[in-house]
């Protein structure tokens, strides 16, 4: 044992073990218990440990569950698409059109060093009925009645999340743009491609890995977001995390909550894998 610890492999394993064991245990153990709970049932405070599929049946048949699950995935998809689309030109600008790259990257990341909860809360204040946006538009004389479509719907959720995840889209795309060999672009131009053609056939396909990375980083946590739908979603914008929280909180039905968590995780994983396969194929196609 002592001999092994003096070897290269031994030292490496020993030094990295605490961190990987910590994460490993805190992923595996809760997941195991979650799985166990999902096959149990709860009546008031008693946990009935008879194994049953009842929770999964309920999750599969309850229209509310299906509705919220689907809505969460659609909203997360919309957030991902909007964030990546809005972020791409910025990443492009920083990679190709400015020499002050570090300054721009810093400017873009600073807002996100503040509390997520507070930023979401701030959007609620901006979009509210008597909020900043409406009062500003009214005092400028642009509208006479407050706009009501701003807050408490899917739009507010998508806007807020597109703001919250912006740097997570900009940075990976910027890195993949930065990696492009500039002589490829010159070659494309010399071979007679217009700027637009060059962008679509050279630049864009080369940044597909960055787009995929950005999309996954945004999509996966967004499906399970709790704060944003709670604060700005209203009843139209509730997502699956709200339902899970209700099971662990007010409704006090942990087995169902555990089942919903697992179903949510499986759905996220499935959609994410599907997305990677499709995006990779598409990236090859347009080249």
């Amino acid at each position: 044992m002592a001999g092994f610890l003096r070897t290269e492999a031994g030292k490496g394993l020993a030094l990295s073990a605490p961190a990987s064991l910590y994460v490993g245990l805190l992923v595996a153990a809760p997941l195991g218990i979650l799985v166990a709970y999902s096959f149990w049932t709860q009546t008031y405070v008693e946990i009935d440990k008879t194994l049953t599929w009842a929770n999964y049946l309920e999750a599969a048949t309850d229209p509310l569950v299906r509705h919220l699950m689907l809505r969460s995935i659609l909203i997360a998809g919309a957030v991902t698409a909007a964030t990546v689309a809005l972020a791409y030109p910025i990443a492009y600008f920083i990679a190709f059109r400015t020499h002050k790259k570090t300054l721009w990257l810093l400017l873009i990341t600073i807002p996100f060093w503040s509390s997520y909860l507070l930023r979401v809360f701030s959007w609620k204040l901006i979009l509210g009925f008597n909020g900043v946006m409406n009062s500003a538009l009214i005092s400028m004389g642009l509208i006479t009645e407050p706009l009501t479509f701003l807050l408490y719907n899917e739009f507010a959720v998508v806007l807020t999340l597109a703001h919250a995840w912006a740097p997570f889209a900009i940075l990976p795309i910027y890195v993949s743009l930065q990696k492009i060999d500039r002589s490829l672009l010159e070659a494309a131009t010399d071979l007679g491609l217009t700027k637009l053609e060059r962008f679509i056939r050279v630049t864009l396909p080369l940044t597909v890995p960055g787009i995929i990375a950005a999309s996954l980083i945004i999509f996966i946590p967004t499906v399970g977001d709790y704060v944003t739908p709670s604060l700005v979603g209203g009843s139209q914008g509730k997502m699956v995390a709200n339902l899970i929280q209700v099971q662990f909180g007010p409704a006090n039905n942990w087995p169902l909550g555990a089942t919903l968590s697992l179903v949510a995780m499986a759905s996220v994983g499935f959609v994410a894998i599907l997305f990677v396969v499709l995006a990779t194929a598409l990236g090859r196609r347009i080249r």
Binding site: P18, G24, S115, G131
Partner: protein
Amino acid sequence: MSTPVSEPLNKPLSTAASKPRRRPLRFPWLLVYAIGYLIFLYLPVLLLPLFSFNDGTIVAFPMKGFTLKWYAQLGEQDTLLQAMVNSLIVGAVTALVATSLGLFAARAYVRYRFKGRELSEGLVMLPLVIPGIIVASSMLVLFISLGLKPSLTTVILGHVFVALPFAVSIMKSAFDDFDQSLEEAAFDLGESVIGTFRRVTLPIVAPGIVASLLVTFTVSFDEFVLAFFLSGNQPTLPVYIWSQIRFPAKLPNTLALGSLLLLASVLLLLTAEYFRRRSAKSA
């Protein structure tokens, strides 16, 4: 002769300097877009401080006048101060534990080649991509099953989990350019393993350690969902803010508190960035 290439600004400086600018002056759409985007990014962040000085309880234009009373009232709220103390404890312990774990792990990843290295490296990054609600709910179930009541301890256990990827990646970049021969030289000159680590390795990666401590502290200090599930009746600051958001009368105080937190987070992370750069430069 082809049309001028507009993209590669990154060509060697000599060509850019020797040739006159060939691109005709056109409207800089991308620059305008970039500035508009920056406004979008900063709008919600600057709004809180702006209205925290507003002498009125409603957040709307036109503003009423300048006041500092919302800040002054903060000091009188005992539950707020208790939540602040809780957050500071959780943040400090989280930062120390996550940075220590990250320090050793990063050292192993950069320095040694061993079986399972890639698996381990991937594993410690996993907390970044699991939805918060799932981490929170599953940890709550685990801790209750183990007989651990929700408390600051369980929050710390959760926060170390989410802060670890940040610690590992910062420490990895600190070790990345670390010159191995310095350690070998120390050995050859008769230093012990521990002596070498303390007198050679540690001083060189110290800026990285400071950066990691600051970043992991901030991650913990700002984290809400895990703390919401795991804190029981010992709320951290974000959990306290969450409880205050519902009361319109408390809004101005929440704005003042939020502004102070924004300022603290940004200052901490700018300091962290400074140390991170220094560690990259000195290595």
